[in-house]
Amino acid sequence: MTTTEQPPAAELGRARRRKEDARLVTGQTNWTDNITMPGMLHMAFVRSPYAHAKITSVDVSAALELPGVVAAFCGADLADEQGSLPCAWPVTPDIVIPAHPPMAVDEVRYVGEAVAAVIARDRYTAADAIASVDVTYEALEPVLDIRDALEEGSPKVHEAGNKSYEWVFANGDMDAAFADAPVVIERQYRQQRLIPCAMEPRSVVSAWVGDEVTLWSATQIPHVLRFAIAAFFGIPEQDIRVIAPDVGGGFGSKLQVTAEEVLAVLISRKVGRPVKWTESRSEGNMTVHHGRDQWQRIKIAADSDGRLRGLQVDLLADMGAYLMLVTPGVPLLGAFMFPAIYKMDAYSFKCTGVFTTKMPTDAYRGAGRPEATFAIERIMDELAAELGIDPLEVRERNWIKHEEFPFTTICGLTYDSGNYEAATERAKELLGYDQLRAEQAERNARGDSVRLGIGASTYTEMCGLAPSRVLGSLAYGAGGWEHASIRMLPTGKVEVVTGSSAHGQGHETAWSQIVADQLGVPFEDIRVLHGDTAVSHKGMDTYGSRSLAVGGMALVSACDKVIEKGKLVAAHMMEANASDIEFASGRFQVRGDPEQGRAIQEVALATFAAHDLPEGFEPSLDSDATYDPENFSFQHGTHLCAAEVDTETGMVTIRSYVAVDDIGKVVNPLIVDGQVHGGIAQGIGQALYEEAVYDDAGNLLTTTLADYLVPSAADLPSYITDRTESPSANRLGVKGVGEAGTIASTPAVVNAIVDALRPFGIKDIEMPCSPERVWRAIESASAANTGGGAA
């Protein structure tokens, strides 16, 4: 047994190398697709080639004749039990939530929707057999553009029409804000549709034993998934175990209750054998929920010194064909973020959720907040340009000053802390802002063919989702708490059970650091358990930069309870009063008598033996805690991008990228850097490379990674990162970091490109800012400047 002679060094802030990596760098990882079971069958789907059609017949008989094919099902075969995939966020009382059968029965509404499944002995046989399923369709008109979908006479996605909901928010006197405003600027921005592209394709294995089912899934949300299967598909909750083994990235895309998960459960019950399904990338690009896809109309009124008076936002948000788990709520997470870090007199927001015959949208890294941040940070640059003020100066004139915290925004959110001045100052210094501005002026003056632009994004984010009462007030169908358990083992080692389900974030390492500090046990003595509802029975899972700010705090609360129990045992062991026991660095001591003490490991063993415990003491130090945050956390930062734009080719090259983030206290700086880098990369991907493209018939053209451009190492710059710190109100002082980079970087990059091209009269370029788009923007601006005609 280990007893700690020396108190371990403080873990918080240490760049611990990750515990996870030993299995990940040696190929011992347990991905869902690695799972095999005796008798396991493989499932493959026949998917709709039409964006919109009536299904007139499905004939699986020829597939069933093939050697090795065990079963085949169409939607009608499952109609009695398949129910409807859940939407947990009915954002308005009159929202239209259409039925969403996991397998289409009589109508398909996007290319890729499942219409039949074949079950076979191996994956090749299953893949072959889907070609033998005969489906006939009667084509209907697709609905592809949300700007036309609400017009009279548009084809309908659903009988009830193409509008799902309209959600509004307003505060302040908008008429007064706009009346006689010296500056009014209105813009329309496009948030293109994105495909999350986690590197691990989705995969599911479902196995029944008697009336119990175990579902392994590459999911971010084993707990929510278990609840949903119980609540919506008629299987008693106690009979369901969901396991998320090692999960290869999510970014929101695995925050879903998918058709394939539900069908695996139902079909494996029917065939009486375990069933596995693993998607191909092409299948996944079509049928993993997509992200973004909004048209944003944004209008500001300002004084002549740049002070914001009013902000109006009118969104059209593409829901796709159905409402999935949080589809309608995603744009509303942005509703509170358009005002960002700025003070203003009036704000109004309207979002109309619109159906189309495309893959449903849902959460993708940042979920609503990147979209909002993009629009406000873009238009702040427009305001600066209009007034001839430096873009950072116009921001400073409007942002909340560091001495004004806590500050309640026009949306009613109370930002607990922040220091925008400090982060911006540091970012400018790291970029060499003033020198680059001088170089830019010089290059503009000599008409350089390669222009330099500097883009800023002084973002904030409401993260640490979320206070349950706030979620309730927004009509969300669940709470925002997180759960943790601490198990003190007899040998003094510790098991930590967390409801937060990691898929690359490094919880096993960071959680060990937190618990090591709280309990004073060695980092190495801790094992973190997660992602299995039989082990971690309670949890709200991982999304919305919530794991540390909510799940980390649950750990602290559970450790508190262990210590309180330990004090009773230690007092009894030392024949002292419990009220005289102090705990520090893993040791219970009698106040004023440092000679007397018991290590937590000794107390754990004594509790296990239970031979001599205080009267009435339950022989266990194990503790559970469920933490519900009182507020969101509000990380912020200043990202600066210097980009060079070749005006002859349209090619954009990021010359330098600086990120200064204030995420409060840092548990592990190495992990934080990794999160920031990866987030920036995804945001740059949106700015420069990525777009899900449908053709006029509603076929997805970007089904492969040859067509959908996830950037490679050769496409991305090196990043300069630093941090400022204003602690959050929670006890760890932490905020959250997962989405920061993605929220911040997209507007920083596009602002840099537009800044470089402003001398040409260019005010916007639609994303992704491909060389062709940039070149065309320059060409048409040049044509306009010369009074028309080709340049």
Partner: protein
């Protein structure tokens, strides 16, 4: 069915395979060597990269029958008593998050360093262009390859 003779991570195998069977599926489904994952179906992502006779190949783009007589090294066979310098460097520099791209990224890096034992950052980035990572933004991967290079990973 065609008979193939391959050596995978130092172990000899003789198997009857369908001519269309992909090498990656042979590794995963026939041999149970699941350390090599599949990330796409168009040879763009590189997650399935292995070494075939010392050269990196995307095992989703090689038929098992094409590996006849070949020596395959997967991530499971890269360590030789102790971790390969690239494995150590990827951990040390936090060059992985979810880890799904990591086997391919490490084996592609091994091939890269064999060709160019002391690459510049730009050469590392260009050399790994065929391997996609969605988590790290590549910064730490570049650092890890640099560290492994300094540790003599090309040996």
């Amino acid at each position: 069915m065609t008979e193939i003779h391959v050596t995978v991570d130092g172990v000899k195998y003789v198997d009857q395979v369908e001519p269309r069977l992909l090498l990656v599926h042979y590794l995963r489904d026939v041999l149970g060597k699941t350390g090599t994952p599949v990330g796409c179906d168009t040879s763009n992502c590189g997650a399935c990269t292995v070494l075939m006779d010392g050269l990196s190949v995307k095992s989703c783009s090689v038929l098992a029958v094409q590996a006849e007589g070949a020596e395959i090294t997967t991530i499971e066979g890269l360590a030789n008593g102790e971790w390969h310098p690239l494995q150590k460097a990827f951990k040390e520099e936090h060059a992985l998050q979810c880890g799904y791209c990591t086997p391919g990224m490490i084996l592609a890096s091994a091939d890269l360093l064999k060709d160019n034992p002391s690459p510049t950052d730009e050469q590392i980035r260009d050399g790994l262009e065929g391997n996609l990572c969605r988590c790290t933004g590549y910064e730490h991967i570049v650092r890890a390859v640099r560290r492994a290079s300094a540790a003599g990973a090309s040996q």
